[in-house]
């Protein structure tokens, strides 16, 4: 990679580089046992080699069942988890060997909104302090600047600037999620990681928040990494979608293409298990046997083979390659 430029932004790399590129990312957690010489007895392979790119102004969604590693991948991008192997490139620059200055600017550019607006907020902090906290990183901002930014952000998410002195308990779940979004907005980010941002909200509030997220994106032009398990939400929000199973991406494509032509048996099973939008819709059942294997004992070959209805003998031995089946539509399956 090229050398970092003199300004604090991680703006190295060629202009054709995607904004964020994840290459062969692994995040493993050792499980240790024993009183003194803590031996590693197993390794939880939460993320086990995934690669994807997020372009400016786009929404990339990750779907998968619980335990597939989608949140861990997001945490690695947020630099909360340290990758065991592989790297995350921001504008062509590897974030793991960035300088302190660069990391600081990276952390301003990449923000996060989490699932539960009740546990993501400190009940003793006023909205003002909650929103301006990430702005403390930018030493050039005065206290008044920070407050002005916070008020502006509150207005952008549809709350009143006066709400700035209130405490979290004075707001409903939907409003709290708006405040969490305002906090992310305040530092003018380029990428926001949304980890199940609407799952804990009521149906009527979900639509409000999703529409708000879309409006903000079209006005301010940032990118989203959107993590969700509800497929309708994913179809509504995304440009591109990646499907994860047991720490690996099994399929990646442009959103509509994926919903119209799912290739991987796991994606097909996930779609067929989705609840119908109308009682007359009867989905073709692609049933997987049993439960997801433990991330400590990942099956050999293709990870899905013990459950896959289309499994062939060599699925158990050879790990399928990640290949482009039709332009822009990638999958890892021996069927293709």
């Amino acid at each position: 990679m090229t050398t970092p430029s003199s300004d604090a932004h991680l703006s190295a790399g060629s202009p054709t580089d995607p904004m964020l590129r994840v290459e062969n990312l692994h995040v493993h957690f050792p499980v240790k046992h024993g009183p003194i010489f803590r031996k590693t007895t197993h390794v939880v392979k939460a993320v086990d080699g995934i690669s994807f790119e997020i372009n400016k102004g786009e929404t990339f969604s990750v779907v998968g069942e619980s335990g597939c590693g989608k949140s861990t991948a997001a945490r690695a991008i947020l630099k909360v988890e340290i990758p065991t192997a592989g790297s995350v490139f921001w504008r062509g620059r590897d974030i793991s060997d960035a300088t302190v200055e660069e990391t600081r600017s990276y952390r301003t550019s990449v923000q996060a909104v989490f699932q539960d607006p009740f546990s993501s907020m400190n009940p003793r902090m006023r909205v003002r302090d909650f929103i301006t906290e990430p702005l403390l990183l930018d030493k050039s901002l005065s206290k008044n600047d920070r407050h002005a930014r916070a008020q502006e952000a509150l207005e952008q998410v549809g709350l009143r600037p006066e709400d700035i002195t209130n405490f979290p308990h004075e707001f409903s779940g939907g409003q709290r999620q708006r405040i969490a979004i305002a906090r992310a907005l305040a530092s003018s980010p380029e990428l926001i990681v949304l980890d199940e941002p609407v799952s804990s909200l009521d149906v009527s509030i979900r639509a409000q928040i999703m529409n708000l997220l879309q409006d903000l994106q079209s006005n301010l032009g940032f990118s989203y990494m959107f993590i969700a398990h509800h497929l309708g939400t994913v179809r509504y929000m995304s440009n591109t979608v990646g499907v994860m199973y047991l720490g690996k991406l099994v399929e990646f494509s442009e959103s509509e293409e994926l919903f119209l032509h799912p290739l991987h048996p796991y994606t097909q099973a996930l779609f067929s298990a989705a609840l119908p939008d109308h009682p007359d819709i009867v989905r073709e059942q692609v049933l997987l046997e049993g439960d997801v294997a433990a991330a400590t004992a990942v099956p050999s070959g293709c990870r899905l083979h013990p459950r896959c209805p289309m499994a062939m003998p060599h699925c158990a031995e050879v790990e399928p390659e990640w290949k482009e089946v039709t332009p822009g539509h990638w999958t890892a399956c021996h069927l293709y």
Partner: protein, 367 residues
């Protein structure tokens, strides 16, 4: 379908065409120091044996309180059932003594709750927990009790039940745990099974398996199923009839195809339009402005009126009538007929002053 005759205050019921569960004008209030929450504010519905009904609503709509009321499990003394009738299998549940109710809970009516980890006790094995209800309701013990446990675990398709029943809840996966809860529920041959958000905590593929299982059990055991859910997808997949609840009242009641094809209440219509579709691309969701109303605030008119795209002057001032738009299809709305006829087209052409589509910022005051 059913026959009811009223003689004074008493109902004369013809058993051969009796609905299994009849709830009439049920009212449960929750009192706090400052105010009273009319959590359940006049709920009426019927459920026939072997049928399934979905009770749909957002949080605070009173759907869970309704269920607790019919089981007489409301958290007294703060909450009180203040009126109405609940008739189950020809008997008035609200007139029963606590002891008689204990025989009905888990006996005639069983319930599956959302989180299997909290409904199971971590320090007892599965045999004990499933066996407990068998012991209490059927007075079985020893080998007969164990056989019964194995039989119910088999019914919910837990593999190798003779071995697995010795295991503790933490040794089961999430889906299997919920099956164990299901085994406890069906162990005493209930006639009515209530599923209160029973699959919400499960992953999509596990949820699909569980719903298929419930369908099979319903057929095998001729169970009546009452689904409490916020998800219209569950209703579409599982239910014959659907009741939509808002602020403690059932605002619409009809069969499942009707609600999807011709919703007659603006709330049901808006709720259906607010859910992103899996089978079609939606460009813009309809977002209902404001937040769900609860029973705390009493309004003179319709409680949905402040959020409604079609609200008229009188909607704010007068209680809406119960309109029967078709056989077995009722909605509590002044404009039910119009909504029924025109559906989402009406929503698209809703008056501009409400600006429901861009309501995110416009209506933030209500949120």
């Amino acid at each position: 379908m059913f026959g009811l005759g009223v003689a004074g205050e008493r109902y004369i019921v013809w058993r051969w065409d009796l609905a299994l569960l009849e709830v009439e004008d049920l009212q449960t209030h929750i009192h706090s120091r400052r105010s009273t929450n009319r959590a359940v504010d006049g709920v009426s519905f019927k459920l026939d044996a072997g049928k399934s009904l979905g009770l749909v609503g957002e949080s605070g709509s009173g759907k869970s309180m309704t269920v607790l009321s019919l089981l007489r499990l409301v958290p007294e003394p703060a909450a009180k059932i203040v009126g109405g009738h609940v008739r189950f299998d020809g008997e008035d549940l609200l007139a029963k003594s606590e002891k008689e109710m204990q025989a009905i809970r888990g006996g005639g009516i069983a319930i599956i709750l959302q989180d299997p980890l909290t409904s199971l006790n971590p320090v007892f094995n599965v045999q004990y927990q499933v066996g407990e209800s068998v012991h209490l309701h059927q007075l079985l013990s020893g080998q007969a009790q164990a056989d019964k446990v194995i039989e119910s675990l088999q019914k919910v398709r837990v593999p190798a039940p003779e071995i697995r029943m010795k295991d503790y809840p933490h040794q089961f996966s999430g889906g299997m745990r919920q099956r164990v809860v299901g085994a406890t529920a069906i162990a005493c041959q209930p006639k009515l099974l209530i599923a209160d958000e029973a699959t919400t905590a499960l992953d999509a593929t596990i949820q699909a398996q569980y719903l298929t299982l419930l369908r099979d059990l319903q057929k095998e055991l001729n169970l009546a199923l009452l689904f409490i859910t916020h998800d219209f997808g569950i209703v579409a997949r599982m239910c014959d009839d659907v009741a939509v609840m808002y602020a403690g009242r059932i605002v619409e009641f009809t069969d499942v195809r009707e609600i999807f094809n011709h919703p007659a209440h603006p709330y049901s219509l808006a709720l259906l339009e607010a859910v992103p579709k899996i089978d079609a691309r939606v460009d813009r969701l309809y977002a209902i402005p404001g937040v769900p109303a609860t029973g705390f605030v009493q309004v003179p008119g319709c409680s949905f009126a402040p959020r409604c795209a079609f609200a008229l002057e009188k909607c704010h001032n007068e209680k809406p009538p119960l309109v029967t738009v078709r056989d077995n299809h009722t909605a509590e709305c002044w404009r039910a007929e119009e909504v029924y006829e025109q559906g989402s087209a009406l929503l698209r052409n809703a008056p501009a002053d409400g600006e429901p589509a861009q309501s995110d910022s416009a209506n933030r005051g209500a949120d």
